[in-house]
């Protein structure tokens, strides 16, 4: 059931009254990416992310405003996070069918704003309305598609009153994407490597072209071998992978990658034979997917360099240190950056490499 405009208006009015009564700051209207207009308080002090992509976005822009995580950071992620955010509580997902957050716990956290990043479809817009109506906390929805990253930063900046920080990050995101774009634009379509994204315990789950999970493949100058699956996740047969015979395999699972050379189902695939199996680094947020958020920015640069090593001569650890300092608020030493990226493949011995 979608909330009726009248009720929404009444709730908004009630909220304004409440804020006025508590002597809080004046409200200002804010229009989110889904076209919903929400009343925000003048000064936003505590923010909660509704899902993992929003949590990454919020962390990169304003770690000091985070009221909590969606799910507690993995212990291995802790060295790569700003100290202040390491011990923040986890509140669960606030939206979607898999919503796990306890509304009362969310209210106890007293956030001034809930931020979600992802699909802008009517389902998510109405879910945002419902959560907002139920909690009385303003809820804004930002576009989670990779191409809209700079825009999402600018909008979040406007909502948080952090415009200049947001503009800087937006510009960096844009320049990173442009750099990759310009470089790979020189590669003709038929020279671009054919990429298979292996998910699931057996690597037979994949994201079909057009899915949010594989946006990086095309952006990094590759071609997704899984074309006609309607842009979603699905299972394929090993035979299908052999028929595709991809030049490159990308996965998030080091154990899966390590077993490929000995596996009769996989050892004949060109990517395995030529050692072009790449495990996306995972900390503090996975580089390629899971969640498909702004964490993919560094993944884009990484994948582009893996697909076209000759076009990106700058050593990856340098890029990683700069990115982690700017976006993740941590100063990595070279050892950390090296360990994160793993052995560099070009010219090196073939085998699974990050």
């Amino acid at each position: 059931m979608a909330p009726r405009p009248a009720r929404r208006r009444a709730l908004t009015a009630a909220l304004i009254l409440l804020l006025a009564a508590s002597g809080g700051a004046a409200a200002r209207p804010f229009t989110d990416a889904a076209g919903r207009t929400v009343e925000l308080s003048e000064r936003v002090g505590r923010v909660l992310a509704a899902g993992p992509p929003a949590a990454v976005l919020l962390y990169t822009l304003a770690p000091d405003l985070m009221a909590g995580w969606v799910s507690a950071p993995h212990p291995e992620a802790l060295p790569f996070l700003a100290p202040r955010t390491r011990a923040l509580p986890a509140y669960g997902r606030l939206t979607g069918r898999g919503g796990t957050a306890n509304v009362e716990a969310v209210l106890t956290a007293k956030p001034d704003l809930i931020v979600d990043s992802g699909s802008l479809g009517p389902t998510y817009a109405s879910l945002a309305d419902r959560v907002q109506a139920q909690t009385g906390i303003p809820y804004i929805l930002l576009d989670g598609s990779f191409a809209k990253t700079p825009e999402a930063y600018r909008q979040l900046g406007a909502a948080l009153g952090r415009q200049s920080d947001a503009d800087a990050l937006a510009a960096e995101a844009q320049s990173l994407a442009d750099t990759v774009d310009r470089a790979v634009a020189t590669v003709p379509e038929d020279k671009r490597p054919r990429v298979y994204y292996a998910r699931g315990p057996r690597g037979l789950e994949t994201g079909f072209a057009g899915s949010i999970n594989t946006e990086l493949v095309e952006a990094a100058g590759g071609r997704n071998v899984a074309q006609d699956g309607g842009g979603r996740l699905g299972n394929v047969s090993p035979e299908q992978v052999l028929a595709w015979n991809p030049d490159v395999i990308v996965t998030l699972d080091p154990a899966f990658a390590a077993g490929l050379r000995a596996d009769p189902l996989w050892r004949d695939v060109r990517a395995v034979r030529t050692g072009r199996v790449y495990v996306a680094p995972l900390q503090p947020f996975p580089w390629f997917d899971a969640p498909p958020g702004v964490n993919r920015l560094i993944g884009l640069r990484w994948l582009a360099a893996r697909l076209h090593p000759d076009l990106f001569p700058q050593p990856m650890p340098e890029v990683v240190r700069a990115f982690y300092g700017r976006f993740y608020h941590v100063d990595l030493d070279f050892g950390q950056a090296d360990a994160l990226v793993g052995p560099t493949p070009p010219g090196g011995p073939p085998g699974p490499a990050r």
């Binding site: 993992p52 799910s71 997902r93 979607g96 898999g98 796990t100 998910r199 699931g200 315990p201 057996r202 037979l204 789950e205 079909f208 999970n213 899984a226 074309q227 006609d228 699956g229 309607g230 996740l233 699905g234 299972n235 394929v236 047969s237 090993p238 035979e239 299908q240 052999l242 028929a243 015979n245 998030l252 154990a255 077993g259 009769p264 189902l265 004949d268 997917d289 899971a290 969640p291 498909p292």
Partner: protein, 350 residues
């Protein structure tokens, strides 16, 4: 009591083996298997297929691309063998359970096998384990669930033992299902949750020769008592009192049959995920075709189930690029066919 001689009479009348029909079925199954080996997403020429099989079976010299050999020997062959044995085994288990519980709505997961195996597998995926331990957990989960149900059945003595088992199966299944849901909620929604969902829907897509080799002994071990005791199943299906009056020791027979059917189902689900409907519907189709005598019903279920799963898997891997989970197809293809057979008024159920 007049039912017993009448039933025996019917059974005797129907038990004359129809050799041509059996022969025909066998040939059809063989042809289907050949087609399943020949068709797939990776193009393998029939001549190459013949050469590969000739090489493997007769030691003839082989001159085909290495990948073609991998496709036939490592992908299709394990898949077809798994479809044959899992289809046969689930159908035999279904037929057994239906007779054992004297209930036409019973399927192999009646005692919580699938829920237990599902929980085991989901736990493995949640913990990020490799495939082999996931399968082992699924297998143990399935056996554990039935052991729990059977334990309840032994502890509760005041009610009809069959009814107790069924109700305990429903309750234990519900608890395990809740466990699965809990892990789904806790799982990472971007990575683990899709993997869990796909696993629970069942697929033969990545069955390896190793899986088949590990599972086959357990399937056979479970099948042997069912096949050997199929005559006694006729008597079991009359009810405990009648069966005992005819000299069948139900207290010994029931656990043996349950153990066999459970072993089969747990091993199958551990290898392929949950493939629903096949164990429910195939025995009914077999019953409509050859009648209720287990001496013929059980072999018929075995053959029909084997052929049916090979066929469904053939569809699943050739329909599109995306593999359609088998559990979906077995229901979509099986249930309408079953309804048609039912409506067309073939033989009765009992």
């Amino acid at each position: 009591m007049s039912r017993v001689p009448a039933a025996a009479e019917t059974i005797r009348a129907r038990s004359r083996l129809r050799l041509p029909a059996a022969l025909l079925t066998g040939l059809a199954l063989l042809a289907l298997t050949a087609v399943a080996l020949a068709v797939g997403k990776y193009p393998v020429a029939p001549a190459d297929l013949a050469a590969i099989l000739g090489h493997r079976l007769l030691g003839l010299p082989l001159r085909v691309p290495a990948t073609a050999e991998t496709v036939v020997m490592q992908v299709r062959l394990p898949r077809v063998i798994a479809a044959l044995v899992v289809g046969a085994a689930l159908s035999a288990a279904g037929a057994t359970y239906q007779g054992l519980f004297r209930n036409p709505l019973v399927s192999p997961d009646i005692l919580g096998v699938s829920a237990g195996a599902g929980l085991g597998a989901v736990l493995g995926i949640y913990l990020g384990l490799p495939v082999a331990p996931i399968q082992a957990l699924a297998f143990l989960g399935g056996l554990g669930a039935v052991a729990a149900v059977y334990g309840v059945g032994l502890a509760v003595r005041r009610h009809d033992p069959v009814l107790t088992l069924v109700l305990a199966g429903v309750a234990v299944g519900a608890v395990l299902g809740a466990g699965i849901s809990l892990l789904k909620v806790l799982a990472d929604p971007y990575n683990q949750l899709p993997a869990i969902t796909f696993w629970l829907l069942g697929s033969l897509s990545s069955v390896t020769l190793g899986d088949v080799a590990a599972t086959l002994p357990m399937l056979l071990l479970g099948l042997v008592p069912l096949v050997l005791l199929r005559w006694r199943m006729n008597l079991m299906s009359l009810g405990d009192a009648e069966a005992r009056a005819l000299g069948v020791e139900t207290r010994v027979l029931r656990p043996v049959l349950i153990a066999g059917a459970t072993l089969i189902t747990a091993a199958a689900v551990a290898m392929t995920g949950v493939i629903g409907w096949i164990g429910l519907i195939v025995p009914h189709v077999a019953r409509l075709l050859v009648g209720p005598d287990y001496r013929r019903l059980l072999p018929a279920s075995l053959v029909l189930g084997a052929g049916y799963l090979v066929l469904v898997d053939l569809i699943a891997r050739n329909l599109g690029t995306v593999e359609v989970p088998l559990g979906i197809l077995t229901a979509l293809v099986g249930a309408p066919f079953f309804l048609w057979l039912l409506a067309s008024g073939r033989r009765g159920f009992s």
